[in-house]
Symmetry: D2
Subunit: 303 residues, 4 copies
């Protein structure tokens, strides 16, 4: 096992912690003993590293998004097709035990046919505006997780995307050309509807909920909480806040994600999220970004 | 006190139950002893009856909507302006103790500045298609309540309305030119966003929730339940369903609504909902209907 | 309909409000036109009034307890047996929709065989010590409701009663010879166990919960809340408090209780709570009072 | 690191899994390189192993109970006092994040002065009767955890213990001289009261709740759930069951417990649970066992 980091000291520290070696990216990719790589670098290096790793015969788990450019993500997909290797994009939320239990219940027919999906996804606090400027915008950077969740639950991509957004949280974000509060409505060929709400700021913590109305019922995956203590006083009945942010909320999801790609590499099981999924959500993010700018619905087929 | 019903037997029965007399509508309006009338007739008679009652010096509580025609509702408003009498439209949900507590908390600054409002409003079962055909459509007939809730909470009308709808519940409803599942996104001049979701069918009961994200927190008004019993078995932990439909859910709201107009008549207090409010939501419903048909956002100023 | 009150002005006021007449107790009992009386006087007059009313051929709904003296309550029962008239004691909680739903679920076998019952019953604030002194003590005055709830759910009286109590809320209550915080454990002939917890003070409101473990599950009847609004802020997730006290919590129960005795009088249906039930709980209260004083379990058969 | 197991194959398997060696207990205790031992053997060997390990200069984490014999536990305490080494008894529940958050809130004065504590502790299913027979009985084997929880929250031992029990779950357990359903009421010198409820069977899972009424409010630590999904259908609103048993529920507690003793050994921090705590709860268990047999309250000072 080996670790590379463009800040050598960080690589050394992690290597010591996990009992492995710190090496350059080039060395890692060139080493035939290494079967798989995890790419958690800045987004602009993802496509290139995916291509280099697969060309060297390695399986890949790459953090989202594949690329900020839909065109480049598509060319990456084309370029690596020949290798037929497992390439998984890190849509960790599919592995959240709550969301996956909801999906399992849906697939088991527990609420009949899906009709109306709602995804609420609020961060506890906005990132620095400097980050916003290189992020590709809320739809590519943040809501992309929710687009993947919609694809995961609905089982296919939407037909049409309508986005509304504003910079209610911080006008600086608006000045940087982005939004921090947004709502996207997606319609599907068979009439299903999906609504996604995003905010860069929910002061009470990471708000991550999914709700699905079906012909025979409703499924809701609610927030996980810091603890189960409830206090009743003259001021009301108060429980704990949601687990603060993604590290706390999605720790079990990350463990399950990791187990899935290890299983795929070792036992040839199907990858639960592929590079194709990563490219598909980029197209939706592109459509949403365009819709928010023009104030018009955008057909997915047009991007 | 007197009751009129175009089916005389019904009027007689109610009159007996409440110890009053059954009379014709004309007699009631002509009676100078009667100070106020409640109009709960079919929608196409609302405007005319409001005009006749106010011309006869009576205060009015009229069930929604004012009219299916926005133009007619506007002319009704013009026609009765001269009388200066209390005319309240029956938007009962403003009087629901849960929604009004949410509004009170917002106005008290408990979550800072409003940013993103979500209204979920599902009926337990669709009405007959025959009713759908004369209803004016989902946006004028059903979502009109939610438009009023949005106006109530946001304190002003939206700028732009985008609607998506389908007939997922019953294709007959689609064949009748209406939708039964719909999502409307409204944006406000200052960047606030409101999302309304409607379905004609939630098999578990009347689902009536409001959720508002603000700069300093989140407010949620949740469903009322049939009872508080929770059963834990090998099958899971099961609680009661939401109160079944509007009669059960909004009984306290109707009582509070009634008290409000009586108070306005007797003591000259301000009407919490006026005919103007009734006309305002019709304009939003008109915009939503147009948006759903064209697939384009509609500016409220354009209807 | 007629009303009597030893403060004449109060009787006059109520009579005006409900459109009836204010009369003396003697006049009411002597009036052959009156079929039934509601006795809501001070406890020391209950037995005598029940006897007088039934002797005059009237049905009775009398507030609990029948008497502070178990002996007197038993003689009342003996004295009126000859008349065979409906005499109901006001154990309103049996009519609470939540507790009655729990009982219905139990009787329907939804959690198998009952094994362990827990009743939590806290008042929001203690009454004046002057009231405590004439109340008969916590077990006869307050926990008597919970003894009746236990009898209602378990379907029979316990075999043995063990009580523990203290005056944690107010040492003045202890000085008056009573307790304000208490726990009673009752065991049944077949091994079932019931635990009742009382406190004269729960600053967050009226806490009225029942929980029953059975061989196939658990039933819980939880508190009703002032409203369904939940607020999430940096301080936590806060919901409404329980409805404040018995007037708010048990309003629907009182209406159902009233309907039950009217039905029994008019249609001869079985009384859901009888004088026998009122005498039975007095015996349990007597046993609990004795147990708390001696620190020893008391057999119900011994009181 | 080394592992001993009286079934050699098990020790070998664990040793391989964790990269250490399988050795005899004697070898481990004799090895001066080993600083601390975890004793998770059958109860009858605990005292002897604690004594041997501390005599050899090792710190100890020993699973509860110290011994089934209170006398032997006390002699163990005396025998090891001279070594002054950290000896922690495995009362894992003190480390549960929910119970420790409740304790922290109490200590911070959030509900004023403690008055009435309730502990609910139900296992999902009873152990084999063969186990029951050597377990020392429910009070020493199962409720001992709850006695420790009471000591943890109340900050001192109770004065008096009254127990009631039955074999409602399985008459075989009764035939073996034990109970499977029990309630214990403990009173404290200052008037506080604690109620503990145990059942060997809650078919819906591991039910582990603590509730504390104080002069200024109520604290409740509720169950953790398998997931946060809620399903609403015509059958009701159903959520997930509690996490199934102690392995699932107390995994984070075990990790925190382990971290605490490691910290005590490495940094000399105070042990959060000591051998003294383990002896103290045995005395309470002894009193409860006696009380259940005699039907009388037992003073802790008398055992």
């Amino acid at each position: 096992m080996a670790i590379s980091d463009h800040i050598a000291a960080n690589a050394e520290k992690l290597a010591a912690q996990y009992g492995c070696t710190a090496r350059t990216t080039e060395e890692i990719i060139a080493d035939p003993q290494i079967d798989a790589v995890l790419i958690a670098t800045s987004t602009d290096t993802h496509s290139e590293l995916i291509e280099a790793a697969t060309a060297a015969g390695k399986a890949v788990l790459c953090e989202k998004p594949v690329d900020l450019s839909l065109e480049r993500a598509r060319s990456c997909k084309t370029n690596i097709a020949v290798y037929g290797l497992p390439v998984m994009i890190g849509f960790n939320r599919r592995f959240d035990p709550n969301f996956s239990a909801l999906k399992t219940a849906l697939d088991a027919g527990e609420i009949g046919k899906a009709e109306l999906l709602s995804i609420t996804s609020f961060d506890p606090a906005p990132p620095p505006v400097a980050y916003i400027k290189v992020s590709g915008g809320l739809f590519r950077d943040m809501m992309i997780h929710d687009f993947d969740m919609a694809n995961f639950i609905m089982g296919e991509a939407p037909m049409s995307i309508m986005a509304a957004g504003s910079s209610s949280v911080d006008p600086e974000i608006g000045a940087a050309g982005d939004v921090d509060t947004a709502d996207v409505t997606m319609t599907y060929a068979d009439g299903r509807i999906c609504v996604i709400k995003n905010s860069r700021r929910a002061v009470y913590g990471y708000d991550q909920r999914v709700e699905l109305l079906g012909s025979e019922g409703l499924l809701q995956a609610q927030n996980t909480l810091e603890n189960t203590v409830v206090k009743s006083t003259t001021a009301g009945v108060t429980g704990a806040k949601p687990t603060y942010f993604f590290l706390e909320r999605y720790m079990p999801a990350h463990a399950a994600e990791w187990a899935a790609i290890v299983d795929a590499i070792n036992n040839g099981t199907t990858l639960p999220v592929s590079l194709d999924d990563g490219v598909a959500v980029l197209a939706i993010a592109e459509a949403a970004t365009l819709s928010a700018k023009t104030g018009r619905p955008v057909l997915l087929a047009d991007v």
